[in-house]
Subunit: 500 residues, 2 copies
């Protein structure tokens, strides 16, 4: 695979100067077009053999382009904060905004590669790591991102010569670490693992380019010219797509479903109630246990994510308050989501939820969540059909990563009947301190009751997975709903941290 990158290609200094001038001007024009268009981020990864000039290439790109819109980010071993979150948390956090460029060193490919070379991970784990990367890249590519991956190559001989040369020069020896020599000794294994990585993750939307790293002039021009060509192609395609989308007269909002569709919610017995006296007794008991469990979970570093969805006025806020009541306010956070900020809007829709993953031992409560993509965004046409359809899969993947990190994830769907909602709306209207809860939007959403029931049905159908099942809560009786929520959290947390 790497033979084609061992040809000893070089560019003379005078040639370099000429081509550099032209390339620089092209890159800048493309960078500004991308910035102005502002519809997709550019993600450029550098991996490869030590000594092949990854760092110097990043420096050169920073010199060539307008550095205000370029971020260069490298990764070390995960910090304490990073280890508490799903593995991709740090990569999500560091994504560039749409219109901007991110250059990544020792990024998501680094640890799978080293794990494979040094025996830390077996074939199966290696496979899983690569599959995770592909899902991550797919989600971004589907959202329009341009991902370019460069493997900077040196033959074993060239690598040795390079490391020897650097080590011998007291002014350059700082560039060589023990790890570099260790990797050199493992060159065969390193290259074998790299071949697998490149083969399996080389995809249309996120291609690998192998670049010969011996001659700095050659590699800098080569990388720059590939970026210019790919960025130009991607810009043309995306601009065309945007123009087409603008001219198409297709209806943005899906057809309303048939009246009163049959859904998973039909099987709920919404008539369930609890007597107030029983409720009072039990809620105190549950909260006491939950208080204990919360403390244990914090001590053990077990984090929790609670998600609440359901129609307007289904009692999400009340259930959340009673649930976190007995948890330590210092270790629990409730997140509600208003309209996205401009920074959030300039990222993939999952980005703002990734940011809220709890620290070790903390509880993050989501009062509405990433499911907005397949509920309100679907209903209002903010997401295209293609976007919301693939979102189920993206969401399942996101939740898998949460669960795989050992975080307790519970998803509650609080459901009420159409009549019960009307009753609550009317009560809110009259209340001097609850009418703020009722907006015109709520009435508008109510008109789409059947559609929302169907969208909720789809949510349960497509995202109730073994790892992250939905818990449907009969909400017509608030006391019943609250008890069920608290007890469920208590039971699952108890299982996790070893009983109250």
């Amino acid at each position: 695979m790497f033979d084609a990158a061992e040809l000893g290609q070089r560019v003379t200094k005078s040639d370099f100067k000429k081509r550099e001038l032209d390339l620089r001007a092209r890159l800048l024009v493309l960078q500004y077009r991308t910035l102005e268009f502002a519809r997709f981020p550019v993600i450029i990864d550098f991996a490869g053999v030590d000594g092949a000039g990854k760092g110097s290439t990043i420096n050169m790109l920073n010199k060539w382009m307008d550095p205000r819109w370029v971020r260069s980010i490298g990764y070390h071993a995960p910090t304490q904060e990073e280890r508490a979150r799903p593995r991709f948390w740090r990569y999500w956090r560091d994504l560039p905004q749409k219109g901007r460029i991110g250059l990544y060193l020792s990024g998501r490919y680094s640890r799978p590669l080293l794990g494979r070379v040094y025996g830390g991970s077996d074939e199966l784990e290696f496979d899983q790591r690569l599959a995770e990367i592909i899902r991550f890249e797919n989600a971004l590519v589907d959202d329009g991102a341009l991902i370019l991956k460069f493997w900077m190559h040196l033959s074993q001989e060239h690598q040795k010569a390079r490391l020897d040369e650097l080590s011998a020069d007291p002014l350059q020896s700082y560039q060589v670490s023990d790890g570099d020599w260790r990797n050199h000794k493992n060159y065969e294994g390193f290259i074998a693992a790299a071949e697998q990585i490149i083969t399996r993750t080389n995809r249309g939307g996120a291609p690998w380019n192998i670049v010969e790293g011996v001659d700095p002039n050659y590699r800098h021009l080569r990388v720059g010219e590939i970026i210019a060509a790919e960025l130009s192609r991607h810009l043309d395609a995306q601009e065309r797509k945007a123009a087409l989308a603008g001219s198409a007269e297709s209806p943005r909002v899906a057809e309303p479903p048939a009246a009163d569709p049959t859904t998973v919610f039909d099987s709920l017995d919404l008539s369930q109630t609890v007597a107030r006296r029983d409720y009072k007794k039990k809620v105190r008991e549950y909260q006491a246990q939950l208080g204990d469990l919360g403390r244990k979970a914090f001590d053990k570093g077990v984090s929790t994510v609670l998600v609440f969805e359901g129609p307007d006025a289904s009692g999400k806020g009340g259930a959340i308050r009673r649930t976190i009541w007995s948890l330590d306010a210092r270790t629990s956070r409730v997140h509600q989501f208003a309209a996205p900020t401009d920074e959030e809007r300039a990222h993939h829709y999952l980005w703002r939820f990734w940011r809220k993953m709890p620290a070790a031992g903390f509880v993050s409560v989501f009062d509405r969540s990433w499911y907005g993509r397949v509920l309100v965004e679907r209903a209002e046409g903010f997401a295209s059909e293609d976007e919301w359809r693939r979102a189920y899969n993206e969401i399942n993947d996101f939740e898998n990563q949460i669960v795989d990190r050992g975080i307790l994830l519970l998803k509650f769907w609080l459901h009420i009947s159409e009549e019960e909602q009307l009753k609550r709306f009317k009560k809110r209207e009259k209340s001097p301190y609850k009418h703020w809860k009722l907006t015109d939007e709520d009435w508008r959403n109510r008109e789409q009751w059947d559609a929302y029931e169907l969208y909720g049905h789809d949510v349960v159908q497509y995202t109730s997975t073994q790892k992250a099942p939905w818990i449907l809560v009969e909400g017509n009786n608030k006391l019943h709903a609250r008890l069920k929520v608290i007890k469920t959290v208590m039971d699952h947390l108890g299982e996790r941290v070893g009983g109250a």
Copy 2:
């Protein structure tokens, strides 16, 4: 001090229900006025005796107000990430946006108090901690924030009764920790320290309110009513102020200074040069040493903040690139600052810089910085005279906190002559890959050359402190400037981590 909060004040259930209804409606109206006005954040702190109901009061406020615009945040011992940054980093990060409300538990007062009670800090350190808090609060109050601080009180007898009562009830005992009993045994010392804290940090813009905590009904109403009264008063005052500012016909931009003012920059010998051959030799040598030092600094966890200011085209970008060239790209970040995002705009101007403080062992480079407040914002009238004048002090305080945390802070002012700037502008205009660096704004700023020299002079005069002196760099010769910057970083880092 606390006698007045040991009166046994109670509110009956029926009375509570009546007053709650009215209070809730008032709080909501005020919350929405604050949100719509969106000119100041509301910061509400809860401290006090264990068992006095801090947590339950926060829960009640969350119930009473629209929780979408309220954040409740409590603090534990600092995490690894937090310990690497200045002490107030976490409090800055968690500030609410303008228009929103933050409720804080065990916040900035908690550790000074416990440190005093348990002998961890002596009188001097205690004083310093309180002085830091006052400076933090002053900076926010000056910016318009409303800060309210509640001390929830119980007498020693009542505290004992409360803790006994909770401990005896298996359903409530989870609320009592060993720490609570320890604090109870130290009640006298706890109260003595609290008295000092309250006395010294009770200020007009950030008042303390002592609330008797025995009866939940009483304390919830009392806190709620104080918030309503203070928020109403603050809103009136701020709205009046905004109306006045809008109607005043005063010139927003300061008078231009006399032509060619005498400044600190006059004493710079801008004619200094370095021969290219010498430069090449030395820059390699310095970069090698810096590369070594950077690795040592990372191993030792020594963080670095580099600030670059100076006229347009003074060579900041080039000097930065050569400086970080030999540093590990995985541990250094260059921050440039375009127009603030809407989230940044909704905070104190220092907020976005606080966010960029480096992790342990990392290097953060600021290509332009918080000095924008006293340079471009002063020049363009974006900051009022009062705002930029007090900014020197705020900046000194900010930098003190950076230095006190053991972070290496170096501030470079790259200076060039007016003629040299013109030469570079003209060269940029002609270059196919540098003309993007030249904007209309640069030409406009150039017209204000004398003003900017004066503003720069003021910057050096007011913010060149012993802990954080300015390093003036003669920039007419780029090679000289780059060498001086790299050597300075090298020397200071060498001093810090024990020589190259």
